[in-house]
């Protein structure tokens, strides 16, 4: 039973990630844990590690900024728009979902 559940979870995880990855313009998706260690990624290793480390720090900083201003507030979403792509970070207590998209132009 436990096996089934875990498989179910895994299937769900796969399905969600696949759905996100299949959006138009999405370059890469990755799931990172609270310490910045990547769990699941669609990019190559070096880029994944780089993105994970840097964005994890940035998310922590952003979150602390928001909470410093208003302690009852919390960070829900972080979008970084650059010339070439847009990086979207969805933070959580334990994980981080990072999606890199090339917006249509």
């Amino acid at each position: 039973m436990v096996n089934c559940l875990s498989d179910l979870f895994q299937a769900e995880v796969e399905e969600t990630l696949k759905r996100i990855q299949s959006h138009k313009g999405v370059i890469g998706t990755m799931v990172v844990n609270a310490e910045g260690i990547p769990i699941r990624t669609t990019l190559d290793n070096s880029m994944t590690v780089q993105y994970a480390g840097l964005l994890h720090q940035l998310t922590m900083k952003a979150r602390s900024t928001v909470r410093d201003i208003d302690p009852q507030n919390d960070l829900t979403f972080l979008r970084i728009r650059s010339k070439k792509h847009e990086i979207m970070v969805a933070p959580d207590k334990e994980y981080l979902l990072i999606v890199i998209q090339n917006p249509c132009e």
Binding site: L5, S6, D7, F9, Q10, E12, V13, T16, L17, R19, I20, S22, H23, K24, G25, V26, V31, N33, E35, G36, I37, P38, I39, R40, V49, A52, G53, T76, F77, R79, R81, E86, M88, A90, D92, E94, Y95, L97, V99, Q101, P103, C104, E105
Partner: protein, 864 residues
């Protein structure tokens, strides 16, 4: 008035008496000081006392110490004794006394200082006599008595009573404290005046030689200073202490680390955890919203920027025609010539090279072959500055059909002849002539047209004939006309087996040619290691004399040049081969980036060499690295109007173990919408099966060229239409001729077009066509992508259609079978099935129409 007798005197009176006679006018002394102003003390002598009968103890007793004396008596006394009279001092009082009798009182006790006194006033007298009867009576009594007597008593010396005055005097006097001592010193007289000798002597050496008075602290004079003025300042207590401690210097330390990563098992366990699932479920919604936002609209677009499409344009915008700029014609040749190949000089602007050939058909060529040998075949260099005279003329043994400038060194030109030979020229010595050419520059033109017979290489000053430096070997090269020649890029080279190597020499050293004998040959301009000794040919070489003005760059190749690799384009089962007319190579140098740097460095090293083409032998000795992922495919256009996409690489055939070209299936597509036909073919060791083959053009393929903007877009021109190909996609887009394909030797704003009659026209492209609008690149790109997708879709649709057809057939058959067995349930089941199949069909149709894509399920359906 009689003067009254004077009374006894007192000692003090005696002084007064002496002094009195000096000044008669002086006031008599009265006892005013004692409170009795009327009492005047007198001293009466005994004689006076006798006169006036006031003798003491006789007339004046204690009972009656007073006596009344008549004024006349005093006056008579005055007359008698004048100044000696005792009453003289009070004479004035007596004169002024209003009464007749004056009272004289004997002062026994010397109360008023003298022995008698006189009362000067009447009322005094009255007071003395009357109110105080007892004392006054006594006084009167006394007065009377002593009035008569006066006794002069001289002052009696009393013993001196010390009143302390001697002490003062003692103090004031100066006395010698010590007794004075007298010295008497004597000396012999002879010693006086003797000469004296003085000498120095140490004082301490001789005892008692000197006497000193040493100073000693005298206690009498030492004063203990009990009070002192001292300035004080209060400061806080400060302590300076230093100690030696161990100070750790901050140092920069670097750590080599590798990122933390999860192992595979850990990843798996994490993936299977519920927390991750929940997280993703929560988060995916917002992420998808964000993604869709981006898909819908780009919020950061600057609308103003997008409005402005072009910058200021020069010239007329609406002008879209090509204007003729200049035209060049060779006036010197006797026969009519046609231009076979046109090429701009890669470096020098305004210089164009044209190869001319005789305009004859094959039979005529054969017929006139003798004549033709006499006339040189030329490549002419035209410059804009001189439309009549070509700048350079390159001579070749036979008509050149195609030529190309070497990309590494524009002074090296390779050309393909009509007889199958490759001809090489090196015009480095004349490079300075053509470099100084300026477009439209007013050079001193020698307008004189020279007649034909003067066209000798020596007499013509402006135009120079340049002889070729090398030709390929006739036996080993192509047998028919070389239709196209290309230099391979300087970044790679190919070996005999077709594998690609990194080109270390930094220069283009290989050529690819295709000819009408259905072969594609690869040539290397470097001296090849002779595999088999050919002494006979060498001897031939030595015997040939080389003209003096020909550079010896390619001497090693002359007449012995062989291609190192040949590709035969065979059509498979039939013996007819494809006759290639043009090839287009991938000039992709972006496939390998790491080696680019190495190549650049090599090039930099080589740039130091003045003439790299002289040292071609070195190139072969270098160890070359093979490049694996190089694209070894290229396009070939054939005479039949086909476009072949083929590969020059040879691979081991797994079955036969021999090296052969890869066996790939080819697709032949007659029209755009024709059916795909697969072809499999075996290959011979040197035969090559094309990767893909497309027949599009109605006539011979004239040009195959790559787009300068997109590396994988190729334009082919042939017959009556133009096709655009994308590498990797087995299809073609029979689309419009887009203005940004500047082919046909276009450079800058000019297109050079050669016509059949030997004239070269240079046309100027108007501004609008030559400059892409801002969106053009991206829009074209997008357009191509759309087209690719469209074609993919078409393919898919074909498949689906086929599938549908099969399904339909099956169903019809099924229906036929199940026709007789029908019950209600079965009917219903059948209806259900039919409905389901209908749904499926509908879905498929929708997919085909593009409304639903197969992969994306949820989002798009929702959107729709």
């Amino acid at each position: 008035m009689a003067p009254k007798p004077q009374k006894r005197k007192i000692s003090k009176r005696g002084k007064n008496k002496i002094t009195l006679p000096v000044s008669e006018e002086a006031e008599p002394i009265n006892m005013e000081s004692m409170g009795h102003p009327e009492i005047y003390p007198l001293v009466l002598t005994t004689k006076t006392q006798e006169i006036f009968n006031c003798r003491v103890d006789e007339d004046i007793t204690d009972e009656q110490p007073y006596k009344l004396i008549r004024k006349e008596d005093i006056f008579a006394d005055f007359v008698n004794r004048a100044a000696v009279s005792d009453f003289y001092p009070v004479k004035k009082i007596i004169q002024e006394y209003p009464g007749d009798e004056l009272l004289l009182v004997y002062d026994k006790d010397f109360r008023y200082g003298l022995n008698f006194y006189l009362i000067g006033t009447e009322e005094g007298k009255e007071n003395y006599l009357n109110p105080l009867e007892v004392p006054e009576e006594q006084e009167e009594y006394k007065e009377h008595i002593p009035e008569d007597l006066y006794v002069y008593k001289p002052p009696v010396s009393k013993p001196w009573v010390s009143l302390g005055s001697e002490k003062e005097i003692d103090e004031e006097t100066v006395k010698e404290s010590t007794k004075q001592i007298t010295y008497m010193i004597s000396r012999k007289r002879s010693e006086f005046g003797a000469p004296i000798k003085f000498s120095d002597q140490n004082a301490s050496s001789v005892k008692d030689a000197y006497i000193e008075c040493t100073a000693y602290p005298d206690k009498n004079f030492t004063l203990k200073q009990l009070e002192r003025d001292v300035g004080m300042q209060v400061v806080p207590q400060i302590k300076d202490i230093s100690t030696q401690t161990r100070w750790t210097y901050p140092q920069n330390a670097t750590t080599q680390y590798h990122p933390r990563e999860f192992s595979e098992e850990e990843k798996k366990t994490l993936e299977q955890s519920k927390t991750l699932t929940d997280f993703l479920n929560n988060v995916s919604m917002s992420v998808e919203i964000a993604l869709q936002q981006n898909e819908i609209m780009n919020v950061f677009i600057d609308d103003w920027k997008r409005l402005a499409e072009e910058e200021g344009t020069f010239g007329d915008k609406t002008d879209t025609h090509l204007k003729e700029y200049q035209s060049f014609t060779d006036l010197h040749s006797p026969t009519e010539k046609m231009i076979t190949c046109v090429s701009w000089h890669p470096v020098i602007f305004g210089l164009i090279a044209v190869s001319v050939a005789v305009r004859l058909s094959f039979e005529e060529r054969v017929h006139f072959s003798g004549k033709l040998l006499l006339q040189p075949s030329l490549i002419l260099f035209w410059s804009f500055s001189d439309p009549i005279h070509p700048q350079l003329m390159l001579e070749s043994p036979d008509d050149i059909f195609c030529f190309e400038f070497c990309p590494s060194d524009p002074n090296i030109i390779a050309g393909g002849c009509i007889n199958g030979q490759i001809v090489m020229w090196d015009i480095t010595t004349h490079a300075d002539r053509i470099e100084n050419i300026k477009v439209g520059g007013s050079r001193s033109k020698k307008v004189t047209l020279k007649p034909l017979f003067l066209l000798e290489p020596e007499s013509n000053k402006e135009v120079m004939y340049i002889r070729h430096c090398a030709v390929s070997s006739i036996e080993n090269g192509h047998r028919k006309v070389i239709t196209d020649i290309h230099w391979l890029s300087d970044t790679f080279e190919i070996n005999r087996l077709g594998s690609v190597f990194e080109n270390r020499s930094g220069i283009s050293c290989q050529l690819a040619t295709c000819s009408a004998d259905c072969t594609i040959c690869f040539w290397d301009i470097r001296p090849q290691k002779a595999l088999t000794p050919q002494p006979t040919e060498k001897k031939k070489e030595e015997s040939i004399e080389i003209p003096f003005d020909v550079p010896s760059t390619f001497l090693h190749l002359d007449l012995s040049w062989k291609p190192f690799s040949k590709i035969r384009l065979s059509k498979g089962e039939t013996t007819l081969d494809h006759c290639p007319t043009k090839i287009s190579l991938s000039d992709d140098t972006l496939l390998y980036k790491e080696q680019d740097k190495a190549a650049a460095q090599d090039k930099a090293v080589k740039a130091g060499e003045a003439r790299p083409y002289q040292n071609l032998e070195e190139g072969l000795a270098n160890h070359l690295e093979p490049i694996d992922d190089f694209c070894t495919k290229f396009f070939v256009g054939t005479e039949e109007g086909e476009v072949i996409y083929t590969d020059w690489k040879m691979e081991r055939d797994p079955e036969t173990g021999r090296f052969m070209r890869t066996r790939l299936w080819a697709a032949e597509w007659r029209n755009v919408n024709s059916v795909i036909k697969d072809e499999m073919a075996f290959s011979t060791p040197t035969a090559k099966k094309p990767v893909s083959l497309y027949t599009v053009h109605d006539g011979a393929v004239h040009t195959v060229q790559r787009s300068p903007f997109y590396h994988d877009i190729i334009l082919t021109v042939g017959g009556w239409n133009v096709a655009i190909w994308k590498e990797g996609v087995m299809s073609c887009f029979p689309e419009l001729f887009l203005p940004h394909f500047l082919n046909l030797s276009a450079k800058q704003q000019f297109i050079a077009i050669a016509d059949y009659f030997g004239t070269l026209h240079i046309l100027e492209i108007p501004w609008t066509l030559s400059h892409p609008s801002t969106n053009e690149v991206s829009s074209i790109h997008y357009y191509f992508e759309r087209e690719v997708k469209h074609l993919e879709y078409v393919e898919q649709r074909k498949k689906i259609r086929e599938q549908e057809k099969k399904d339909m057939k099956l169903e019809i058959e099924k229906k036929k079978v199940k026709m007789h067995q029908k019950s209600k349930e079965q009917m219903e089941a059948e209806l259900k099935m039919e409905y389901e199949s209908y749904l499926e069909l509908e879905r498929n149709v929708l997919v085909n129409l593009g409304l639903i894509k197969v992969k994306e399920t949820m989002s798009y359906v929702e959107m729709v």
